[in-house]
Subunit: 379 residues, 2 copies
Amino acid sequence: MTSFGSHPDRTGRDMFAEAGLAALEDAGVPAADVDELFYGNFVGTLSEGQGHQGPLMAEALGTTAPSRRIESACASSGVAVRDAVRAIRSGEADVVVAGGMERMTNMGTAGATKGLAGAADDLYEVRSGVTFPGAYALMARAYFDEYGGSHEDLAHIAVKNHDNALVNDHAHLQQEITVEEALGAPEIASPFTLYDSCPISDGASALVLTSPEYADEHDLEANVAITGAGHGGDTMALHDRQSLSKTPATRDAAEEAYDDAGVDPSDIAIAEVHDCFTIAEVLALEALGLYSHGEAIGAARRGETRRDGELPVNLSGGLKAKGHPVGATGAAQVAAIATLLDGTHPRADAVDDDATVGVAQNAGGTVASATVHVLEVME
Amino acid sequence: MTSFGSHPDRTGRDMFAEAGLAALEDAGVPAADVDELFYGNFVGTLSEGQGHQGPLMAEALGTTAPSRRIESACASSGVAVRDAVRAIRSGEADVVVAGGMERMTNMGTAGATKGLAGAADDLYEVRSGVTFPGAYALMARAYFDEYGGSHEDLAHIAVKNHDNALVNDHAHLQQEITVEEALGAPEIASPFTLYDSCPISDGASALVLTSPEYADEHDLEANVAITGAGHGGDTMALHDRQSLSKTPATRDAAEEAYDDAGVDPSDIAIAEVHDCFTIAEVLALEALGLYSHGEAIGAARRGETRRDGELPVNLSGGLKAKGHPVGATGAAQVAAIATLLDGTHPRADAVDDDATVGVAQNAGGTVASATVHVLEVME
């Protein structure tokens, strides 16, 4: 991945080339061997006036391999990875690049907020004034109402994820914060203050995925595999849901991915989850089956999901502190788990030596779309 | 498909619901059986402010099945069909909906032209003043220079496709034109006059694809199958190509699709090709191997590709007269071939009784992306 942050003067192709070429070099795979590109991007037509980015990004890697842009709001590159896995499993491709890019800071705060609002229902949510801080604040309020919990519980999540990002030079926000600072920050949508929200970021990410046969034949050094992939959906608008405090799209994606990999939530040692807002980390951990409903709200406060806890969550810093260039996020999460498991991530020292299974969860909108990938260290 | 045309007051979800629900009813498949949605759309964020259309469109069909929007400019739903076929072949899905929608006339001519320009290279083509009529006019000039041919040859293609659309009530332009009218129409980009270009249209299309096993178990009446799928890529910008008169993305997609289906160009009885401009039909027929280079330019003039010719092309009216709601086009082409082969299309009487193989070719940008699907009547 590129560093995530404010890069308003870098073009999308420049950022994706950096991430993609680095991934190819790291994998030891020449561009000429790439069979297909699965590329995630959300608002490129708004931020750069550039549609049809698939061929452009393939070309940035030095190939004219067939490509498609996959858009599923903030889950764009999670779905790109999911469909890329299928391309290899189908036997129709041996090597694929899956990744994504987003350029957002050049749109300004109002432009980016409007672009992001396109991930919700334009007719029935956005025109009623609901943008994403408000939508997730509604989910937090519903959660508190149903299960208890407080803004202070959420502040511990923000503090944890900022703390994790301190050693990650690719993170957007390398800034230590305290619970008091998080609670005292300006309110953006009650109960959220500024530090409950991820930043608006620019950046790109890319993964090189190959068949096991290709990896063997070419003596690739990679020792982590995607063993499970899942994809779930839900109604677009919050008001059509049975519950605001549960996210069945993540639940369905997790069940599919666990079944696919043959693992159980109890096998999972580390997780990267979609914490666009602090409450989203709670909802994800519960939908992933890593906590019962009502239990994840206190996990960071109790220390369990901190890097010295039993189940470190968002060791990369998460969207909260690593940053959230929308189309790049899902693939970056998978990359974080892979490098945490193989020991090359700056926070890999927080991962137990005997850890072999990690999970990455990516969500679009208010979790109208979700993907889950299980990664395992190969024998 | 919905009727293609000028429907500025219909929302995208309204149009996709019409097409998708009609497809489910025609197939005899309940929405509850849909495993996934592959949805093509190009400029929805510009025309409706609506991103993340996958879950919205799934919901319009009555399902929360996982979805993704696939964007590959004018090939968006061609790629959606290609990836949907893979989903079924992988064994991970039994029933998928593949389709697309575009809303364009509400953007106005200048807005739609700008949106469409996003399918070319924004930095190196669009900012030099190249929009699509100009880009394809360059390709026509290069073709004339290399192989000969004239604007009159192209006019015969427009006349043919308008003529084919006369009985198609879903077509945007049901209007007979003559060669003289086509030649005498206002020039839009030399050598093109107005009738060399497809219209700007609104509309939606959807296909229900199932595994053979599902079709058998549920006694579905469909008797046409997609037996070959191919996908090709090329450089984004024209100036990076070795030739302006050849389209290797279509050639590569065709080779993959023919190999996949085990057919040869000589087996093909009918074709729907991407005639966004008249020259594009020529380039497609040659890249598909249905004509040698330099030979397709005269095919319509000689009558071979007319509906009473040996190889009827664009019996639906093509993009030229049926219309071109960008994201809906690729799936609509596949639907046209399927209904021409099973006898339910209004122009099915032009198809030989012993015809069993048809091909649909969809292109994005100046053919930086292309898909080819082979359809066959099942025994």
